[in-house]
């Protein structure tokens, strides 16, 4: 990944030096090991801060809405699809946006990795597909492939769908036998089993809204859970209210979700909220042949009125 970082820094420097952009949004390493965080830099000297590795899972599309001036932004496959979404949904003008594409090999699931390691991690590094982790016990190596985030395992758009610059050569896209095996598995369950599954899923929710805030699709000035006239969803941790929140949040992502995994990444309670959104991704694909964020000239299927739509689309 070092080559990516190098290339990104070069491009960023150029863009800032030539004043083509006012800012570059990318990642820098955090203050603790094994954490990358978003950063916005405005001077070419700061370009050295920029990094890119398997920890850069956050979706930077979240930081580009209604920008002041022109901005450049680092985009993995999924991020770029959310940027397409943003342009389609008028959150940013394409001409104010410079996309530095990064062909992606998948991001690392930190909580999974943490399970394999005892004690505090003091350093982290990666080389190619190998992860090196240092703890009090010494250095351990892992194969990145074994610790990919769930959504990255299912990703079929690792290369950015739009970009102005590329920080590397395109990667080969994964061929999946059944991209919706996870959804099918739930679909095959009994009504009761599904019910229990989702009950277990949401019972730990503390309604911190981290999933919502991390999601690049959530940008309403007032979220439905905060509506007050009437206040139809309670703000408590009442199970019905929690379920209503998760249900409608997912529904608002129908036809728009790129399965970037930001919601899961952000959840402090490790709730797999993708269990909701994955179903809608599958339905959009099967009913409308639609995958979100691939075409900058098309609106998502639920945004358009077409008499030829399948009758059961409303369901």
């Amino acid at each position: 990944m070092d080559t990516y970082t190098k290339k990104i820094r070069e491009i960023a420097k150029d863009l800032l030096a030539s004043q083509k952009v006012d800012r570059v949004i990318g990642f820098e390493m955090g203050t603790i090991p094994m954490a990358a965080r978003p950063v916005s830099i405005e001077s070419e000297n700061d370009a050295e801060k920029l990094v890119f590795n398997s920890l850069c899972a956050m979706n930077l599309a979240n930081y580009i809405r209604k920008p002041k001036g022109t901005i450049a932004v680092i985009a993995k496959g999924c991020d770029s699809r959310n940027m397409v979404n943003h342009v389609v949904e008028h959150q940013v003008d394409r001409e104010n946006l410079v996309i530095i594409g990064v062909p992606c090999h998948g991001m690392v699931d930190k909580s999974q990795l943490a399970l394999e390691v005892e004690g505090e991690i003091t350093a982290y590094d990666e080389e190619g597909q190998t992860l090196k982790i240092t703890t009090a016990q010494g250095e351990l190596t892992f194969e990145k492939q074994d610790f990919l985030k769930d959504n990255c395992r299912l990703c079929q758009h690792r290369n950015p769908v739009i970009h102005d610059y590329m920080a590397g050569d395109p990667v080969t896209e994964q061929e999946l036998e059944d991209p919706f095996a996870d959804v099918n598995e739930i679909e095959a369950m009994s009504q009761e089993a599904k019910s229990t599954l989702f009950e277990d899923l949401t019972k730990n929710c503390i309604r911190c809204y981290a999933c919502r805030n991390a999601c690049p699709l959530c940008f309403c000035p007032t979220c439905f859970v905060d509506e007050s006239s009437p206040q139809w969803v309670g703000k408590s941790q009442n199970k019905t209210d929690v379920d209503t929140f998760h249900f409608l949040r997912a529904f608002h992502c129908a036809g728009r979700c790129t399965d970037c995994g930001a919601c899961v990444e952000a959840c402090p309670m490790d709730i797999d909220v993708r269990k909701f959104t994955r179903k809608l991704i599958k339905d959009s694909y099967e009913m409308f042949g639609w995958e979100a964020g691939l075409d900058i000239s098309k609106r998502p299927p639920l945004d358009t009125f077409n008499p030829a739509d399948p009758d059961d689309f409303i369901m």
Binding site: I186, E187, K194, F198, F276, D283, M315
Partner: protein
């Protein structure tokens, strides 16, 4: 919508969609009967129902 609710464990028969033109009174009645029968078979709704505590 129904698909997602069902995915979450709400019985599919609790949500119905239909298209009936204003001339189709018999179809209207048939649909009401059908839904009513199905829902009676399911029993009262417990999923998502708000419990006041």
């Amino acid at each position: 919508m129904g698909n997602l609710l069902e995915h979450m464990g709400v019985e599919k028969d609790r949500i119905h969609f239909s298209w009936i033109s204003s001339a189709e009174a018999t179809k209207f009645v048939d649909v009401v009967k059908e839904i009513s029968d199905k829902v009676r078979a399911l029993g009262p709704n417990t999923k998502l129902k708000k419990i006041y505590s």
